[in-house]
């Protein structure tokens, strides 16, 4: 997770970002795949300043975007494509708490979502309850808007609680391979369930207005 300190192959200036030189604009091809924090010249940590991330992404975007290499040779155009894809991915990860948490847990040697699927036990009963409510809402052609709204509020509240729990584990960052990472993964699994459930509620709500429904 440490940063690769290299210099620009073209002008020799120290690289602020691993994907391009901010001094002369030359694109850089990193030897190994840089992590999302590294891409934006940041040290890995759970809390990020979203405004700062956006500002950095924009600055970097103005150096990397393939639109600015329309007249360049094919290899350079391909590198602009690849580096911009890396930037977009990094930006998405850093601006989304779940994605950020997921990356940090894996980078610190914690379990992946395939290696540890369980959620906290207290949460499971509620999951059963929500699943039933979603099932009922789907089965009922006439949407009960008030009930869907109540379900949404419930899910949102749980989501805020899960994010707070994740922050408690990951800020400051735990030691690599620490048991705390299992707790973080459990909260991430909760978040994944909640985001999925919220998406279903949203689909159901939009369906209410659908002329094709």
């Amino acid at each position: 997770m440490n940063q690769a300190a290299t210099s620009c192959a073209s002008c020799g200036a120290a690289l602020e970002f691993p994907l391009a030189c901010s001094a002369c604009g030359t694109l850089a091809a990193p030897e190994r795949e840089p992590g999302p924090f590294e891409v934006l010249g940041l040290a890995p940590q759970y809390f990020v300043d979203a405004a700062d991330v956006k500002k950095r992404a924009l600055r970097l975007g103005r150096l990397l975007h393939p639109d600015y290499f329309g007249a360049a040779d094919e290899a350079t155009r391909a590198l602009a494509e690849r580096n911009t894809a890396r930037l977009n991915r990094a930006r998405d990860v850093l601006l989304d708490a779940s994605a950020r948490g997921d990356w940090l847990v894996r980078a610190l040697g914690g379990p992946s979502e395939n290696e540890q699927r369980e959620m906290p036990k207290a949460f499971l009963l509620e999951v059963l309850e929500w699943n039933q409510q979603l099932e009922e809402a789907r089965a009922n052609a006439a949407r009960d808007h008030a009930r869907l709204e109540a379900l949404r509020n419930d899910l949102e509240a749980q989501r805020a609680a899960a994010l707070a729990a994740l922050a408690r584990v990951l800020e400051p960052l735990p030691q690599p391979a620490s048991p705390a990472l299992r707790e973080a993964r459990a909260q991430l699994n909760v978040l994944r369930y909640l985001d999925n459930a919220l998406a279903q509620v949203e689909a159901l709500e939009l369906d209410t207005h659908s002329p094709r429904a």
């Binding site: 329309g70 007249a71 894809a85 949203e202 939009l206 002329p211």
Partner: protein, 624 residues
């Protein structure tokens, strides 16, 4: 003839790229000039090329306005709304096929073919003819310079197959596609630059055949698409069809069933419906006329705006539904939208405007011509791509999720819809049998949970995996959606570092060889046409130069030294000779023109001195 000030157009062909809006109903070209995008049209012409093609009994098809006129008298041999067939198979185009005046078939890759005058044409080839016409008009407007680099717009909601078909059409037309960009995004570029806007903007784009809504944030020259939604089969054509259905029902009492199903009859009906629809945008009621002398039918039907609007309401509600989905994906509420921009000819329908205004709770912008704004935006993007500016940064999204079919027919999402492009994702695969050297997989695009409900992009076969025990190979497959919104797939076996081979079977798309073959056939004709026109244009130009030089010599010839005078005389003799007899070839005419220009430079300078400089700057000698 000597140019007193360097005319940028003279040697700029390599620095110019065109923006082309390839529309369902009309197509248009634009370019960047003097700090802003302009529509390119030859003198006395609007520049719109109706996206229509007429096939005469003999000779080359007519494209554009002429074809559109011929549609009225010979509907059976005129094709329109070809864009709705791009990247589609026969089964998906049944609804549209009803208003096509000829038989349709499918080639071996599932590409629709129009059977016209004993020949088969794919939508790609037909679109290529339209692109050639637009390109031709644009080059004419530029005084005969041939520009081959283009930016072409597509509906934001176009999927991979539709984008690929558009790119293939451009290749067949002999054009070099710098970028495929989304229509609503292009519109926002033209609009944002024009109005110097900041904030969150919704672009509502209802064209002849497609609908898109895009939500963007515009700030300091950064145009970031937050979400897009749409329907590639919802546009003015569908509004026409609603009126056609009414007419068919009412005519069923008067006409034989064979007439009611007749393709030419349906095409006439469709044109009559379109005319009626357009009139209803400015009048409270309008007539739909149908005259078929051969069947002795004279039919006229009055539609009030209220009646038509009732028929159209379900279509308009579908656009609003898309707006809701785009807002939800952008995680925004209606109240957070600062501006609404209307694009596309169908936004002229008052009921559409009113519904959009009611939904967004604000008056939409209509300052820019909804038929031109997309081409203008494409010209802005072309300018950026040619290195003209870094002030503008466009960040668009992919409209549809990309996934792989998993065991049991479900879809594993690899890239989510509304991801900023370019984007990429890498997935790991391994073998399930010992010494297995290939893996097959099925790539789909769409939001549904089952692969069979999504659109197949292709079945990819990964081969060349070194023989190893099951589960040992680690094949990393990379999916990259580029800045055109188009997918490339690459694969690598990680334990050996070998690149695995990916074979793509295009679905509803042309193979490279097929495109190549069409290119050779179509482009050769276009080249010949282009050369002939260029030669004619050059001869006209030489004529103007000769006359201007003769005039210049009587005014200021005395002030020239002997050698320069002889030089000009020599060039004049060659110039006059080129105006006589059969048309010489382009390159010799070009030499004569260039020679005249060079030789007359001192004369131009002399004339400059003798007249007030300020009044002349930027003028050619022929304009003095």
């Amino acid at each position: 003839m000597g140019f007193i000030e360097l005319n940028v157009l003279n040697n700029a062909a390599q620095n110019i790229a065109l923006g082309i809006d390839l529309g369902t109903t009309n197509s248009l070209g634009a370019m960047w000039k003097d700090g802003r995008p302009i529509v390119l049209h030859p003198e006395g012409d609007s520049g719109y090329v109706p996206s229509a093609i007429h096939f005469p009994e003999k000779g080359m098809p007519a494209v554009g306005r002429r074809a559109r006129e011929l549609a009225l008298v010979d509907p059976a041999h005129t094709l329109m709304s070809i864009k709705r067939f791009m990247g589609r198979g026969l089964a998906e185009t049944r609804e549209d096929a009803a208003s096509v005046p000829c038989a349709l078939s499918e080639n071996e890759n599932g590409v629709v073919q129009f059977e016209m005058r004993g020949r088969k044409f794919t939508p790609q080839e037909l679109s290529a003819l339209i692109l050639m016409k637009v390109h031709d008009q644009a080059c004419k407007a530029l005084g005969g310079i041939e520009v081959t680099k283009v930016v072409i717009t597509v509906p934001a909601y176009f999927d991979e197959a539709q984008r690929q078909a558009t790119r293939d059409a451009a290749r067949i037309a002999g054009l070099d596609v710098l970028r495929i960009i989304n229509e609503p995004t292009a519109a926002s570029l033209a609009y944002g630059l024009d109005q110097r806007k900041q904030g969150t903007v919704a672009v509502f784009d209802l064209g002849g055949g497609t609908f898109d809504v895009s939500i963007l944030s515009i700030e300091d020259g950064v145009f970031q698409v937050l979400a897009t939604h749409g329907d590639t089969h919802l546009g003015g054509d569908d509004f026409d069809r609603m009126l056609v259905e009414v007419a068919r029902r009412e005519l069923s009492a008067l006409l034989a069933p064979s007439v009611l199903e007749d393709r030419a009859f349906l095409q006439s009906l469709r044109l009559a419906a379109e005319k009626c629809k357009i009139e209803l945008s400015s009048a409270p009621e309008a007539y739909m006329h149908l005259a078929m002398p051969e069947s002795g039918v004279q039919w006229r039907r009055n539609f009030t705006r209220a009646e038509a609007e009732a028929l159209w309401a379900p279509l308009i509600e579908r656009t609003i539904h898309s707006c809701q989905r785009a807002l939800a994906d952008a995680k925004l509420k209606v109240a957070q939208i600062d501006e609404v921009v209307l694009v596309g000819g169908s936004t002229r329908i008052p009921a559409v405007r009113e519904r959009v205004e009611r939904f967004f709770n604000r008056k939409p912008h209509v300052e820019l011509n909804p038929d031109e704004v997309v081409a203008l935006g494409a010209a802005v993007q072309a300018h950026v791509l040619m290195g003209g500016t870094r002030e503008v940064l466009l960040m668009d999204v992919t409209p549809l999720s990309l996934g792989l079919e998993t065991m049991g027919g479900a879809v594993a999402k690899i890239i989510n819809r509304n991801s900023t492009i370019p984007c990429q994702a890498t997935e790991g695969f391994t073998t399930y049998a010992d010494s297995q050297t290939g893996i097959e997989f099925h790539i789909v695009q769409g939001e549904r949970e089952l692969a069979k409900d999504c659109r197949t992009l292709g079945r990819f076969k990964l081969s060349g995996i070194p023989p190893m025990p099951a589960g040992m190979p680690k094949v990393a497959v990379r999916f990259h959606i580029d800045a055109n919104g188009m997918l490339t797939v690459t694969a690598k076996e990680e334990s050996t570092g070998k690149s695995a081979r990916i074979e793509v079977q295009p679905m509803n798309g042309l193979t490279d060889e097929q495109v190549e073959g069409m290119l050779n056939a179509a482009y050769r004709h276009a080249r010949d046409d282009f050369d002939a026109r260029r030669a004619a244009d050059l001869r006209t130009e030489i004529g103007v130069m000769v006359r201007a030089t003769e005039r210049g010599l009587t005014h200021a010839g005395a002030g020239l030294d002997r050698e320069t005078g002889l030089d000009i005389e020599e060039a004049l003799v060659k110039g006059r000779a080129a105006l006589q007899g059969p048309l010489p070839d382009t390159s010799s005419l070009q030499r004569v023109r260039d020679e005249l220009e060079r030789a007359t430079l001192p004369l131009a300078a002399l004339l400059m001195d003798s007249v007030a400089k300020s009044a002349l700057s930027g003028k050619k000698l022929s304009e003095v």
